[in-house]
């Protein structure tokens, strides 16, 4: 079941009241954190006119579409249609909801109802997410000595443990980096990994 869970970012990059774009396999997602910290991941499409919900805005415990302000609660159900303030939206108007959890500073998404089984990343500190224009197969070039367990690649950088959680996005890959060493050094090392992998793809 752990293969169903896809890393979609670091907790530190999704503060309270913010929405961002994400992905699960081929599906595009809107991932957002409510004012009280509740995480949600939905299909990135307002049921009204297909607008990306990741362009929307969070007020309290709701996410609203930027196009017409249609507002959805954390269960995905539409609670307000501003053009018709007196109307109670029909229950059929609902965002497609995914499961979304966070652990050890990483945000994970899976289809609703998936059992929560996540890799143990405890003891490491979140560094940053870096997107590489290459497919997963090209990663080995930039990560000599790293060992892959599912979505997680583990290795050592200057003697410190490092884990990269891979988000496969088809034409590109996002690496969510965590480590035990100095964050600035690891951040710069990640820039180097990207350069190596991409140069390999271009060559």
């Amino acid at each position: 079941m752990s293969g169903m869970w896809v890393a979609n970012g670091l907790s530190q990059d999704l503060p309270l009241g913010v929405v961002m774009a994400g992905s699960w396999q081929g599906a595009e997602l809107a991932i957002w954190r409510s004012a009280t910290g509740r995480l949600s991941a939905w299909n990135d499409r307002c049921p009204h006119r297909g607008m990306r919900l990741s362009h929307g805005f969070v007020r309290g415990e709701t996410l609203s579409c930027i196009y017409h302000g249609w507002t959805y609660g954390t269960d995905g159900a539409c609670s307000k249609i501003p053009a018709h303030p007196a109307m109670v939206p029909p229950a059929a108007i609902k965002a497609e909801v995914y499961a979304c959890v966070e652990a050890d500073g990483v945000i994970w998404v899976a289809p609703a109802g998936t059992e929560v089984v996540l890799p143990d990343l405890s003891g490491l500190v979140a560094v940053r997410s870096v997107t590489v224009q290459a497919d997963v197969a090209a990663l080995t070039r930039g990560l000599p000595g790293f060992v892959q367990h599912g979505a997680v690649w583990r290795g050592q950088v200057e003697g410190a443990a490092v884990a990269l959680v891979v988000q496969d996005r088809g034409a590109s890959v996002t690496l969510h980096g965590l480590g035990a060493g100095d964050r600035v050094r690891l951040s710069r090392w990640l820039d180097g990994v990207r350069r190596l992998v991409e140069e390999g793809v271009l060559a």
């Binding site: 595009e28 990135d44 499409r45 049921p47 009204h48 006119r49 297909g50 607008m51 990306r52 362009h55 579409c65 930027i66 196009y67 017409h68 302000g69 249609i81 501003p82 053009a83 018709h84 303030p85 109307m87 059929a92 108007i93």
Partner: protein, 281 residues
Amino acid sequence: MIAQAVLNEWYPVAMAAQVGAWPGRQTQLLGSDIAVFLDAGEIVVQRADGSALAVCLRYGHVWACLGTPAHDLFPIPEADQPGRRLVDCGVVRVKCSPLRAVENFLDIAHFPFVHTDVLGAEPHTEVGRYEVQIREDSDEVWATKVHFYQPQAAKSASGGIVTEYMYRVAAPTAAVLYKTCPNKPDAWDVIGIFVQPLTEELCEVWPWMALFDDATPQADLIQFQQMIFLQDRSILENQIPRLLPLDPGKEIPTQADMTSIAYRRWLKRKGLTYGAQMVAA
């Protein structure tokens, strides 16, 4: 294979005043490469193979037809009305279905969220009941008695007013709106968008206006209209799918969307499905 009904319609392909000698404006219409250029004082639109298209010049724009024109270009009587200023606003390219661009033009409910503090503002988000019909005589979609509260309805407006609108779909990719004129309450300002379908998922949009406004400089009028349309552009490029779904069920409309419902029905009935998605994916 493009439906004959689609090929037999008129589409805008250039601003008449900007057409120059060969190579002129190299562009696309319904996926075909075309050139719009001036030859011995005449505007010519031709395909890559050198064959010429039917052309008419109207409302400051060059209109072309890839097939055999099924009818004359739609009339806008206000274009010839004395005292109106005709304003060509130039072209903007948008990565979306030409039909989505028209549908957005017909939509009011997005004003407070996309044209914030200009064409709309919270808490004034209500769209009242209005009337919609497909007029059989002219074969056009009309919405009338549309009312909406606007903080700054036009460049010449000095404060919030409830604006009345009429909307009119005159051709598959051309629509005209009539709205309360701040300077002349007994008249309508007329604003059109003429959409050139380059492909099913790429279009170029030519806003056009016929206004009663002697005071505002031309550049201000153009920039006001460009500001409004460019606020829509990032919406249009982020609707999924890019094609306009014609099957009910793929997108959920409400009463405020009656114009769009009629527009989709009219397109489907006439087989004008270029830029549309027929089967829910």
